[in-house]
Each structure stands twice: as C-alpha cells, then as structure tokens.
C-alpha cells in the first residue's frame, strides 16, 4: 500500500476548532437563482467547517439545496453571497479561470456515473487533472500507476473505460480524484449506479482513504451509505437541519480493507 502525503501545512485560516486544521470553511453561503421573474433561494445561509481527516455525508431530499451546495463546494459555481475558504483562499470571488485552477489542484471529484474519458486509458484518465495543472512528467506517470495499484487496478493500466466494470471505473475515478493530492474528495452519489456488493467495495475504499487521513465529503440520499461516514449534515429548504456526529458508525473489518489493492474483481 503506498502512502500519499496528505497534510497541508499552509492553512493560515485554520481556526482552532478543537485541534484540527480545516480543509474547508463555509460561512453564510447563499445562492439565488433567477428563473423568469421569480427568485429561487436554493441556499439560505449555510455555515460549517470541515476539519482535515473528516468524513462528511451531506444528505437531503431533492430540492433541499444539496446539489447547489455540491456545485459550490466543487467550485463549479459561485455563491450569491457568503464565503467559502479553501486552503486560505476565498473562492467565492474568483474568476472562471482561477476556479478552474482551484478545481485542478485542490478538489478531487468522484461522480455518480464515473465520468471517465472514453478515448483515454486508465493511466491517462488518472493523469487528466495533472495535465490541466501543467505537471505531466515521468514522475507523475509513476505516481498515477501507484494510485491505480492502490485501488486494485495495477494490472489494467492500458485498459479503456469501456473494458472495465462499473466498480472498476469508479475506482479509476477515485484514483483520479487523488492524483492532485486534494484538500478534500467530493463524492456525488458515488455508489448510486452500483450494486450492493460493489457499493461496499467503494465504501471500504473510502474508509481506507479516510483512515489514511483523506478528507471526504460525500453527497448521498441513502442512509446505508451515510452510515459509513463520521458526520452527517442534513439540508432542508436551503438550510442546515441537522449537523451531527454519527454514532454507531458502520465500518469494515481490516481484512476487507486489505483485499482492496489486490484486484478483487
């Protein structure tokens, strides 16, 4: 198992909230959409901190503002007001190009439908964020191979996404999300397209990564999935309804975790 450095040392805005350094800080985040003459207030002032090493499940019914929050956390959109501090920079006021740069270097996306690029191989897919950071070289290629091996796909580096199963594709996507050593991983219904066995494999992988110190923010509507997280934030009507630590968190036994890198499929 390879170890990938995760500790950020330059986080100046870290509040001494407990003893942890913050991966993300969200304050009074609001997002309004103007549809025809009507203004939809999708987020009405959301505040929370995500300390490093946390494992947060964001839940909520459709229309609760879950997707809007996800887009803001992913720097795909800008809030109407409020601040979102990521690694010392408030991304709320950045330009489109600056946001692209942030996405490439600080966020690791995992999507429901894997979203691999069809014409690229496994390794090349993992490399994409580095390509946009302008950091492709022999060393980065080695690192991508290590990541592929870590998620159990070391022997399928030159396969195309279409030659892989859903679970394998999602593992490639997870490896891709880690390649830029992000502040946090942002998983959007990452297990939504998978059967229960594969879902468990992916959740076990998340647990392994979190145990290694990765910060994970996971958007889901399934209770069985959210039970694996350490903390749950439930949104309702654009506001935080519940923000609590999960008691009786479900975890996988160590022997399951060990199997991950051995290519289970």
């Amino acid at each position: 198992m390879s170890s990938i450095p995760t500790v950020k040392s330059n986080d100046q805005t870290a509040e001494t909230n407990g003893q942890n350094v913050l991966a993300a800080r969200v304050r009074e985040l609001q997002k309004h959409y103007v549809l025809k003459s009507e203004t939809v207030r999708a987020l009405r002032g959301v505040s929370f901190d995500v300390p490093e090493g946390d494992y947060v499940a964001i839940m909520g019914a459709s229309g609760s503002g879950k997707s809007t929050l996800l887009n803001l956390l992913g720097c795909l959109d800008r809030p109407t007001s409020g601040s979102f501090v990521l690694g010392g920079d408030d991304v709320a006021t950045m330009t489109d190009d600056e946001l692209s740069q942030i996405r490439a270097s600080r966020i690791g996306f995992v999507f429901q439908s894997y979203n691999l690029i069809a014409q690229l191989t496994v390794v090349e897919n993992i490399e994409v964020p580095l390509y946009y950071m302008g950091q492709l070289n022999a060393e980065s290629r080695k690192r991508c191979k290590q990541l592929a091996a870590m998620v159990g796909l070391g022997d399928r580096l030159d396969h195309r996404p279409t030659q892989l199963s859903g679970g394998q594709q999602q593992r490639v996507a997870i490896a891709r999300s880690l390649v830029n050593d992000p502040y946090f991983m942002l998983a959007d219904e990452a297990t939504g397209n998978l059967d229960s066995v594969t879902t468990d494999e992916i959740l076990a992988l998340f647990q392994m990564l979190n145990d290694q110190g990765r910060t994970i923010i996971m958007v889901t509507h399934e209770d069985e999935v959210s039970e694996h997280a350490k903390r749950m934030i439930r949104l309702k009507d654009g506001e935080i309804q519940i923000d609590k630590r999960i008691e009786n968190r479900k975890t996988f036994p160590p022997e399951v975790i060990k199997k991950i890198s051995m290519g289970t499929d």
Partner: protein, 446 residues
C-alpha cells in the same frame, strides 16, 4: 510535453470516429487538390494558347481568304471568284512601308499517291503552294533534303516537299527522296526534294483562323501551282459537284518591327477593303493583338479558377464546422468532465481547435499530394481515352489533346496555408461554443 499531449489527445479523439474524420478530411482534400488542379490546368491552357499564338508569329499579320456560303443553284456560268488576288498581294507588298514581305499561300485538299505503288489507295492530304520563306514563318524544319528554293519558284519546277506523317504513310519501306509523287485528281507528277520533321498542329484562334494540321501537307512552289493547277477548283462528290475559284488562300505579312504591327494591320485592312468596306471573303488576323488579349484573359482566367477552388475550400470548411458542431454536442459530457477536473475555457477551445487543425492539415497535405499528381493524371486520362475510345478522343478539342497542366509553384504553399486557415476559421466557432458551456449543465448532459 503538454503541447505534444494535446495533439496526441486530439488525434486520439479523431481516431475514435475514423470514418467521420476521413470524410471531413476528404472535404479539405478536394478543396486543396482542386486549387492546385484548377490553377495547373488554367496555367497549362493559357500557356498552350500563348504558345500557339506565338507560333503564328507576333510580328506577322495573316490575311485569310474565306469562301462565301454556297448560293443555291451555283453552276459553271455563275462562278464567283473570292478571296485574295495576286494583284492584292502585289499591292500589299509594294504600297505599305512597314511591310517587309508578303508570303502568298494557296492551299488545296487533294489526294496523293506514290508512282512506285500504283495499286495503293491514294491518301487525302493538302497541297500547299508557297515560297521558300513559308518554312521559316510557320516554323517548319527539314529532316532530309531541302525546302523549296528561290530557283524552283522562278523556274516553276515540278518539285515538292512532304510532311513527315505523309511520308511515312506513302513510303512505309522506301526512301521518299527523289521519288515521284502522283496526284490522281490532277494527273500531275512531282519530284520529292525534301522531307520535313514532325510539327504540332495549331489550334483554331478566335474563330477567324481555323486550326492547321501540318501532318499531311505537300509543299510546291506557288508559281508551279498557278501554272499547273490554275485557280478553278472542281470537286465531284457522288452525283453533285462544286466549283470554287480563288487565287490565294492566305497572305502572311511580315512586319519588320513588332511595334508597327497594330498600325500596319489597320493599313492592310484599309487597303483590302477600300472598294467594299463590308467585304466578307477575307479575314485579317493579328497574332500580336491576340497575344495581348490572351495575356489579359489569362489573369481573368486564373482568378476565375481560383474562385472556383476557393468555393470548394469553403465547402470543405463548412464540412469541418458541421462535424465539429456535432462532435461538440456529442462530447458535451466530456467537456463537463474536463472543466470539472480543472480545464479552463481556453484549454477546451485549444483542444477542439487542435482537432480541426489536424483535420484540415491532413486534408491539406494529402490535397497537395493529390494536386501534384495532376499532370500525371491528365496524361493517364488522355491515354485511357485515346486507347479506350478513339472516336471520343478524335472529338476532343485540340487544346485538350495537347495541353499539359503546369503546377503553379505558389499554389502549393498558398493551398496549405489556406487549409490551415480554414481549419482555424471554421473550427473556432464550435470550439468557442464548447468552451462557453456551463460545466454543471455539461456534466448533467446525457
């Protein structure tokens, strides 16, 4: 490294749909190849036209006799002489100061036979009465023996010089020199004193000058022709006969200085038409003026060809744009993924531009190769028609038979630059459209 990767990626994406990419490339290929082809053929044709005009001699003025249309019921009693007369020939050569000399020429279609082979079918040819200067003016070269001499003109000798093609037909296995040539229609004999080299036919120019095929000519002194053949020509074909009477078929007027040609031409016209301004039985052809016209026409011609080629390139470009717009829509999801993973708008634009430029550059390069094949292809096509469909070949215009396309060197870089330009211009809109997509919307696209 990164740039390399961008191109590598673009080519990979294009190879994902090989058929589609190939068809798009074909559009540009045709555009670029047609630029080179049309310019090469245009250049070939205008060079050929110019050469033919130059063959007539820029310092010459040609006056042709034209047979008036047949009047119904023409018979022996109402024969009208037409065309140039010997008196006019004398007038032209003595009255106009700038005229150096005037060559009288009389042409007559006749049959020829060889006395040593009396059973052979006589061959259709052309009997030409002329002077020694004729060889120089029409650029005939003697292969063996000699051309007509001044002494033969004065003595009205019964001698002739024959063209190469006719010589090989009449004398397949003998030396034609000093043999006797027989004219069955005239019951005349001529001794062969010279054989000419092969000469290409001239094309018809501007309707006033018919094309001249020198391959079956027999040249005799003009004086001999007058004395032995006379001016009246009776031709029997089937049950009918036709009569025509003319003294000369052509006068080639040589002018000392090319600059004097236009002025002299006016004087010649005025002299010949002084009694009847509407005279229909002669035509004055001035190759010098034709040459000037041809040069001006050439530019227009090239511009016209260029325009056609440009249109085909634009069509090719629209093909690229069409495909790229479809591709952009089809790859909306990919664009969303790339944006989410940190691709800037400019990265997306660049990626799609790289693809269109790849397409158009491949089209451009193959198009240039295709264009360079133009002369070979034209030659091959001509050979195929000649061998496969001789009847069709015979009906081809003269210029199509002799024209050889000449690749205009500048057309190659120009075609290439234009193809890249087309790639950028027509790729820009789809690429910008791709870049302007909202990443959230694009990610949601199915």
């Amino acid at each position: 490294m990164l740039i390399l990767r961008t191109w590598q990626l673009g080519i990979k994406s294009l190879l994902l749909h090989p058929m589609r990419s190939a068809l798009t490339v074909l559009g540009i290929f045709i555009g670029v190849a047609s630029v080179i082809w049309l310019l090469a053929i245009g250049e070939g044709i205008s060079k050929e036209a110019q050469r033919q005009i130059e063959d007539l001699g820029a310092e010459n003025i040609i006056v042709r006799s034209i047979k008036p249309p047949d009047e119904s019921g023409a018979n022996f009693r109402s024969i009208q002489a037409f065309g140039l007369t010997r008196a006019e020939h004398k007038l032209l050569s003595t009255t106009i100061k700038t005229v150096e000399s005037v060559l009288p020429i009389r042409e007559l279609p006749t049959k020829f036979a060889y006395t040593g082979n009396p059973n052979a079918k006589p061959i259709d040819g052309r009997l030409v009465g002329c002077t020694p200067e004729y060889a120089e003016v029409t650029r005939l070269e003697v292969a063996r023996g000699h051309f007509l001499t001044d002494r033969e003109i004065i003595s009205k000798g019964g001698v002739c010089v024959i063209a190469a093609n006719l010589a090989s037909k009449l004398f397949p296995s003998e030396d034609p020199l000093n043999k006797l040539m027989y004219l069955p229609e005239k019951k005349e004999f001529y001794k062969i004193v010279g054989v000419l080299k092969h000469r290409n036919a001239t094309a018809a120019i501007g309707g006033s000058l018919a094309s001249q095929d020198f391959s079956l000519d027999v040249y005799i002194p003009i004086t001999t022709m007058q004395a032995r053949v006379g001016d009246t020509e009776v031709k029997r074909t089937g049950g009918s006969f036709s009569v025509k009477e003319f003294e000369l078929s052509q006068c080639t007027i040589r002018v000392g200085d090319v600059d004097d040609v236009p002025r002299t031409a006016k004087l010649v016209e005025a002299t010949l038409r002084k009694d009847d301004p509407d005279r229909q039985d002669i035509a004055v052809v001035v190759p010098f003026e034709l040459l000037e016209q041809a040069k001006a026409t050439r530019l227009m011609f090239m511009m016209f060809m260029g325009l056609i080629a440009a249109i085909s390139l634009i069509v090719g470009g629209i093909g690229i744009m069409n495909i790229m717009l479809a591709t952009v829509t089809e790859r909306t999801r990919e664009i969303g993924i790339r944006r989410a993973l940190g691709g800037k708008r400019s990265d997306i634009t660049r990626q799609f531009l790289v693809e269109t430029i790849s397409l158009s550059v491949v089209g451009g390069l193959t198009g240039i190769l295709g264009g360079l094949l133009c002369p070979v292809t034209v030659e091959a096509a001509r050979w195929l028609i000649r061998e496969g469909a001789p009847a069709m070949y015979a009906n081809l215009p003269e210029v199509a038979k002799v024209m050889s396309p000449e690749i205009v060197p500048i057309s190659i870089p120009v075609a290439f630059i234009i193809s890249v330009f087309v790639g950028v211009i027509f790729g820009l809109y789809p690429a910008m459209r791709a870049a302007q997509m909202d990443p959230i919307e694009a990610l949601r696209h199915e």
